[in-house]
Amino acid sequence: MLLAVLSGFIFALLVPLLSKFALRAIPSLLSAVPILLFLYFISQLSSIREGQFLLEKISWIPQLGINLSFRLDGLSMLFSLMITGIGALVFVYTSYYLKGHPYLDRFYGYLSMFMASMLGVVLSDNLITLFIFWELTSISSFFLIGFNNEEESSRKSAMVALGITGFGGLVMLAGFVWIGSAAGTYSLTELMTQPEVLTGNSGYVWILVLVFIGAFTKSAQFPFHFWLPGAMKAPTPVSTYLHSATMVKAGVFLLARFTPILGNTPEWNWTLTIVGAITMTYAAIHALFRTDLKSILAFSTISALGILVFLIGLGTEEALLGAGLFILTHALYKAALFLITGIIDHETGSRDVSRIAGLQHKMMPVAVAGYIAALSSAGVPFFLGFLSKEVMYEAVFHLPQAALILTILAVLTKICLLVAGFWAGIKPFTGKITAVSENAKLPSPRLWVPTIILGALSVSFGIFPALIEKSLILPVLSSMMVGPIDSYLALWHGFNWVLLLSVLTLLIGTAIYFSWRPSEVKFEKTLRFESFAPEQIIKGLGRSSQVFAKRWTAFFQNGYLRNYVITILIFLSVLVAYRLFSGVYLYLDWNQISEITPSEIIVVFLMVISIFFVILSKTRTAVIVSLGVIGFANCLFFLYYSAPDLAMTQFSIDTLTVLLFMLVLFKLPPNKTFSSKRIRLRDSFISLVFGALIAILTLEVFEEPTMKEVSEYYADNAYILAKGRNVVNVILVDYRGFDTMVETVVLVIAAIGVFSLMHLNLNPFKKD
């Protein structure tokens, strides 16, 4: 299985290496990878019957419980077959649809990267690897939505999609880590054996919230649904593959995966039921106000995803069976409708459903596929859609609570979806030929054969449900539930209420189809509600966070170095001052304080005056001289308190500095005042506070007892080990000899810098 997952990535790497010539000459060859993978998964079908599963584990970071482990059970089998099967069709379709496109190789690279990541998501047994593959699908989706990268709207949609799904993914990761630390394992298989550890955990609600946000963003649930219509900027094969059949179902997959682990609690069931119900109704109604075929399909996809979340939320055996069945049904008919839309777009150059008609005279096979897909989506008997709709109605109708309102919502959704499906699959082909569809003709079989294949599957599964019942659908159910299964698929359940609902749906839907025409005007009428839509609210949040970030940066990083210094120092001062005043007791031990002699007083006096002179004087010479006085006063302090070496160094260095200043004095800028009085007052206040804090801190530290161990070691051993009597010198040239050597190097570097700066002529036109 590892190879199955990785082959897509390897292939994605190879695609750019295959020359463009090879791509054009043998385009169908590229489809070999998904086809082979599809056959591989078909060959594994027998091994997952009756609820068994295959497990494959390769250690990756076992210390953290992260392993490349894969689990193939009913649920992942259904998804794997969809990913590889529809993938194969999309690969074939693309080879003609994007024929001659300069970025075709890139496109195939992204597409196979996506396929591999999606397989990774559905096969992963480890939560962390699942997360990695999950984010990889978001990233490949980002590249594919922004595939027409010259268009600004494409790039924007790609950013929105990545923003929403990436955000959800990160939130989900937090949930996974929580699960890992609560249950002690990241393995899904192990989690399934002990669901009570999580459902009984005190953080259960938080885990749910985090995982739900991940699933809802990915599967475009209300209020995160709006990235999906935007994602329709991608080329149609991408919309087919990622944004209707597979990737957007990853969230549904996740919920189905976690049903045996986190499910069967009121929190789980009600949240999913409510969110799913809102999404399915909201999006289904929205679909009826669109005229762009892809928009209609986008909203009906959101609605279908809502139905899936809703069914998983109901959580009964019938509901879960309905979810499993509907995943397949929806993938088959929606992929077909998308591919057909692509063909229409390709042949007529328009996707406006109100202007396209009569195409069945031009392209009969496509029209047939369109009719099949539309009828399957409507749930007409003998199509797969009928089965899944029956099961869904059964599940809703037999609910112990709130059955009436939920049934009404489900029927309403199904009616709207029926109309949307008819618009996409029937309306463009019937009626009189319009101006737009005049020049259309039947395209290459590479475009329409995939739609026929999908239609054929819908019909054959619809007529012979036994084909998929035991091999595919019941294993899906068994991987979502614990305990025995007594469901079955049947075409005929007898005369009952559910059948009546089905008939009602068909009748009302068809009536609406004939009486309600798609038009721009109706779409424009919905625009006035846009400002309340979650899309605007979330985008507004995004914009205001950007504005906030801009202001924040402008305030703290405004390019003026001294403002950075002020910010840092104010922060530091406030922090230290708070600590000083809240928790530290100031005291003074007079025994430690030595007496003051007159000579010391004079030096202190000298120093204070010079400091004020340095700051306030207007002439450079005076400033430099006062600076020299400060240095020499320092020197005297060192001398008084037994540091002759320091005094000597300070003396010579200070002399040198003053000399250096004097040497370049006339080339130095004049001592000007730039700032206003207000700024100077502010700075002096900050400086005084800082100085006072340093003084208090010094006093504090001074009062603490000192540790003299190191000093004593140096002093005691100076002569014995190093044969030197001046301990300071011994420390510098012996104990810390290397430091001193490196220090010398620093000085040499500074000297080289000084020398070269003096001789460097930056402006060749101006000799100095």
């Binding site: 204070v608 400091i611 400086s687 002569y719 420390i731 510098l732």
Partner: protein, 117 residues
Amino acid sequence: MELLLILIIGLLHAGGLYMLLRRSMFKMIIGLILLGNGVNLLIFLLGRLTKGHPPVIDGNAKIFSEIYADPLPQALILTAIVIGFGLQSFAIILIKRVYQVLGTDDLDELNSTDEEI
């Protein structure tokens, strides 16, 4: 006496910071030097003041027989003074060159590569 030294350390830090915040590059360097002096004095003070007993062992003894000033802060400060000098001299020459080439001493005129705010 220590209290007076603490006062001076505070003044040197305050004055150094104030000069560092000026727009003139010349004043900025003065600020750096003041801060350096202040820090040196601070380290020195924390080694405690000892009068008349430099950390030098008597001519014929092998170890100290009476009290001595702490040699460790002194060694640290010595390094700091020398390195500080390297920094100061480089900075002095640098502003001299900057002034020659650009004809300004105002730091605010030197940040034009930054984006407009």
